[in-house]
Symmetry: C2
Amino acid sequence: RMDCQTDDTGSLTPMELYEKLSAQGDKVRTLKTEKAPKPDIDAAVQLLVKLKLEYKTATGQDYKAGCPPSDGPTLQDNGPSVTEGEDLVNPWNVTTTSAKGVDYDKLIVRFGSSKIDQELVDRIERVSGQKPHRFLRRGIFFSHRDMHQVLDAYESKKSFYLYTGRGPSSEAMHVGHLIPFIFTKWLQDVFDVPLVIQLTDDEKYLWKDLSVEECHRYAVENAKDIIACGFDINKTFIFSDLDYMGSSPGFYRNVVKIQKHVTFNQVKGIFGFTDSDCIGKISFPAIQAAPSFSTSFPQIFNGRKDVQCLIPCAIDQDPYFRMTRDVAPRIGYPKPALLHSTFFPALQGAQSKMSASDPNSSIFLTDTPKQIKNKINKHAFSGGKDTIEEHRKYGGDPDVDVSFMYLTFFLEDDEQLDKIRQDYTSGVLLTGELKKRLIDTLQPMISAHQQRRKLVTDEMVQQFMTSRPLDFNY
Amino acid sequence: RMDCQTDDTGSLTPMELYEKLSAQGDKVRTLKTEKAPKPDIDAAVQLLVKLKLEYKTATGQDYKAGCPPSDGPTLQDNGPSVTEGEDLVNPWNVTTTSAKGVDYDKLIVRFGSSKIDQELVDRIERVSGQKPHRFLRRGIFFSHRDMHQVLDAYESKKSFYLYTGRGPSSEAMHVGHLIPFIFTKWLQDVFDVPLVIQLTDDEKYLWKDLSVEECHRYAVENAKDIIACGFDINKTFIFSDLDYMGSSPGFYRNVVKIQKHVTFNQVKGIFGFTDSDCIGKISFPAIQAAPSFSTSFPQIFNGRKDVQCLIPCAIDQDPYFRMTRDVAPRIGYPKPALLHSTFFPALQGAQSKMSASDPNSSIFLTDTPKQIKNKINKHAFSGGKDTIEEHRKYGGDPDVDVSFMYLTFFLEDDEQLDKIRQDYTSGVLLTGELKKRLIDTLQPMISAHQQRRKLVTDEMVQQFMTSRPLDFNY
């Protein structure tokens, strides 16, 4: 059900798209035959994929070489399809058949985003004057859109703001949910910028069998865990959609502006909605898009409409923001920039995202040290061999080992991590020992989180969630 | 493009609907063959029409006797169709081929509403203790839903509230736009109940080539004309959607609740939306529905969710409220009751609604006495004969004469109106004389409106449009 909406074009007729596609197909074949440099082929393939998706969005049909678009009736309710062997990545589903997880390089090509390469990591270090966060050093935030533009502006004293969010579908948050918040806090600290955090309780009401009141309560509970990540209360606004939509005319006006510029055909193409979906789901993407524009927060930006937004999020949220970037110029706003993270794997392996409803699929922020230990020992998928003898002889595979993957997320020390990788690969380090390293890393981290969460008072939550000016020197 | 959504059913499969339809078709044929009483045939036809529309909504296909529903792909983007010879009536278009205007008795059958008969008019007189408004005496408000229920409750001291509205697409309002407001003011006076008036500036932004700011400005300008109708400032809340959606969490929560319970298939069936429509249009019906529920105005009703709503409106708005009544029980709210008016004819004749963009299509609230006189003399379609001699001999036809129609709306005295009808029909009254009667009625009426509008201060507008408690003894 994954599909993408591109940023540009949009005004071509199906026949023009068809002709452009045919030409691009020829170009790709020529480049391959001529054994052109890989980046050239990649770029051409990327454009081809983009055009194919646009073609499908425009006509409802798959592009077929030699078959020009017909004017006849198009099928509905098929939703966008996935090519066999491709990973499925959208805001509601991520599946892959590889134990190593989703192929992120392929995803960059399919989504039309850019890789966070060493040059960009170095530049972030230079501009911020800080050592890059381990998520950057290790490719956990691996893809971006327009990050160089954000840094260009920042270097010429033109600041930006951060926007991230969470869908509060239950009280229970797991360590994976912390990834965007940990990274966003780092960005806030090193760039000293304001931050808005959207809790999409309205989305959860629309998608889940929950009452409005339950969803709102989950939003407030989740806000406590988010606050416990250490955000600066003077620079951070956390909001529930159910509350903020009904208390900010600026926000609603942007929602309506976005809703005017996105058709059902487009959200069908991007999100796979069907005619049987409720109109709330169909119009929701505009609500997740709206915080990307500074006029949605007049209390923070004094009505300025040119403050650029930078969105750190997991790559599965990108479809929302491809749509947002498509709409932005048409309503007179700058396109938001993005930083995309990989997925945090389930304890059982990297084939799927974790589920908040399965307590054994991850480490929850409420787990006791004992639960953490037991879960890791019992459920963390191992890349080790079946017997100690074999393991000593052949070594383990860190690339499919969930304990090792979790350490790449949470163990700060690069040298230690590298040593663990080497020792595990060589067979010096046994699975039990690797798991112990993870347990020793997570137990104090979760305990510390729980301590900080206890210190989050109702007044603090109230203050974070009150619409108000933030410290922001533009 | 007219189509209706019924209140009940909804859980039948296409095949069950098909079988029910076949049976109902047989029943209608039998009744007609047997020359059954007209009310019986009407009721059976009404159910048949309802089922056909449900079938189309469920399958996307027109019902065809002998052709069961297929599982194959259904066509999209056709929109609901109108049977040949039927009037087209929906919120954006009203057309008819008859000079007398839309066939309202047929519309009652098609829409599944109830006729406002003499018994109901008498009952309103009894319960209110007031002579019924001329719009009731003359069948201008001709159709209703659940008005008896409203009166039952009112008699046992259970009050209700009124809700009406306007789409502010320009500054210019014409006399036809006053119809719902004149009648609503009367209802407010005789029943002593609170009133909410929705100005759908968001809708106008979505449908027209206007900016958000323009639509909001029109809303405020239109509010002045509405206030000039004499509403009680202590019992009336006038709101712009663009403002109120962003200042009332209660309102937005109801919008989301409604949006969760209406599918794209449904709004496609009801309103004729297509896949090319923007997601704002597709979700808008929930915004017009929300004021039908008292929890949308916690400041007025203290969070009570059981205060019934009565909606006086032109019949073209009924599709919104059929949808609303369908959703109401599923989200735990009472269904709104309705009072439907006929359309106010254009000066050129009853074949279509007036257009605010054609200054000669109606009398505007800003017209001078001279403009009124000239427009009526020059543009009002006449039911008179070509020459005075013929007119004296054969008489005129008041049923197609726009000046006479306008008098039925605005001349208070029943006896005078009846005498005019008789004299015009007999040929005693000439077209010029009839037009003079209308000019003499409208000139002082419009002047008085203009005087009252001048007295509407910015502070009054501000007060009417401020979310606040109203005088309401429940």
